[in-house]
Amino acid sequence: MEGAVVLLDFWPSMFGMRTRVALAEKQIKYEYKEEDLRNKSELLLQMNPVLKKIPVLIHNGKPVCESLIQVQYIDEVWNDRAPLLPSDPYKRATARFWADFVDKKIYDLGAKVWKTKGEEQETAKKEFIESLKLLEGELGDKTYFGGENLGFVDVALIPFYSWFYAYEKCGNFSIEAECPKLIAWAKRCMQKESVAKSLPDQEKVYEFLLQMKKIFGIE
């Protein structure tokens, strides 16, 4: 399992954050390389020729692409500590289902919240909150989605928390007012060093978003 680990990433990427959290949970030393997405490095294009996207995890010179695939890879290689997926197949299926739900819903709906206005934005906000409420239901009374410790779904979802402030400012709403249990969960996650050091400051993300809006000509 030893061998050089490199992560090609972009600091505000929720997907990159997932891999950072997984590496931190397993206490794996790695080299972090910041990519300029408007000027992608030769290494990135060589390691992910198909999608040309970050994050890319490079282990012993071999690339693994797509954040949830990277998290599973990390869990399988460094299987002697901090398991991210449970051992029971049905519980694993449940975790994969909800991580996939985060992928299908949260990113796109969140993007709609900051990219649109008026009716479209109101619909996006409503669907975004509905999706978060479904996740709250899955969390139930557990400390984390993974139970007593961070699990696959926690790692999949917590990066979006760093974008909540930006979504709230753009959409003029309070996520905590609608989903207090989820925010309480997020704050518990932020108490963990692996999460706190992997997520950027919410204000910084908001500033970044404002810059993106200017570039894309969105009001």
Binding site: V77, P89, Y90, R96
Partner: protein
């Protein structure tokens, strides 16, 4: 021989299990699950849904998406075909769909995701759109196929030596490409992709797969009707 024989004790275990699969007669997503169950020799009950009139059971088993396929194992439901495939592989260990090596597992998962998120939407765009939109979709499709062809170099299947998870996810291409070409009159996978064409043939005729395809005539009627919806005669 592509299949490892199922052991007697595994058969005995299977008889104590209750496995149900909710699908439709034509869904390619449900078919993936059928293949996984057949490859592992698992007995199951098949329930074909009418999607215009979904059963109460289906809605109870998949309240989040209300879609097929749903696998119900001893009363516990699993939804989303890729999640179901991994569940099957982890629950029944014979004839594995994924190898032990984490890098190889990541490789197959990557291509499964690529198929879901790039190939499927692009083929649907080619099927449903017209004019410039269709041309753009075709261009994207050609780009994607180049990568797929490259990935098949030196391999018999996406799973390498034998059928793996990625092959089951790519499997829809082995019959639907032909059907789409018949219905649209377009050439969708041409001679520029000999490895892919060879894989499609191999998969289509595989002893475990070949009897599972939905009836060709019924499929033509279905897809012809859908095509006419999107391209009404002027």
């Amino acid at each position: 021989m592509y299949i490892t024989p199922v052991k007697q004790e595994d058969l005995a275990n299977n008889m104590a299990e209750e496995v149900k699969l909710f699908k439709t007669w034509s869904t390619p997503f449900g078919l993936r699950v059928v293949w996984a169950l057949k490859l592992k020799g698992i007995e199951y009950e098949s329930i074909d849904e009418d999607l215009s009139n979904k059963s109460a059971l289906l809605l109870q088993y998949n309240p989040v998406y209300k879609k097929v396929p749903v696998l119900v194992h001893n009363g516990k439901p699993v939804s989303e075909s890729l999640v179901i495939l991994e569940y099957i592989d982890e629950t029944w260990n014979q004839n594995p769909l994924l190898p032990e090596d984490p890098f190889e597992r990541a490789r197959q998962r990557f291509w499964a995701k690529f198929n879901e998120e790039k190939l499927l939407p692009t083929i649907m765009a080619i099927f449903t759109k017209e004019g410039k939109d269709r041309e753009e979709a075709m261009a994207a499709w050609v780009e994607n196929l180049k990568f797929v062809e490259e990935e098949l170099k030196g391999k018999k299947f996406f799973g390498s030596e034998k059928i793996g998870l990625a092959d089951l996810v790519f499997g829809w291409m082995a019959n639907l490409i032909g059907i789409f070409e018949e219905v649209t009159g377009l050439k969708i996978v041409d001679e520029r992709y000999p490895l892919l064409l060879a894989w499609m043939q191999e998969f289509y005729e595989h002893p475990v797969i070949k009897d599972t395809w939905p009836p060709h005539d019924k499929m033509i009627i279905k897809w012809q009707a859908l095509y006419e919806n999107y391209h009404p005669a002027k």
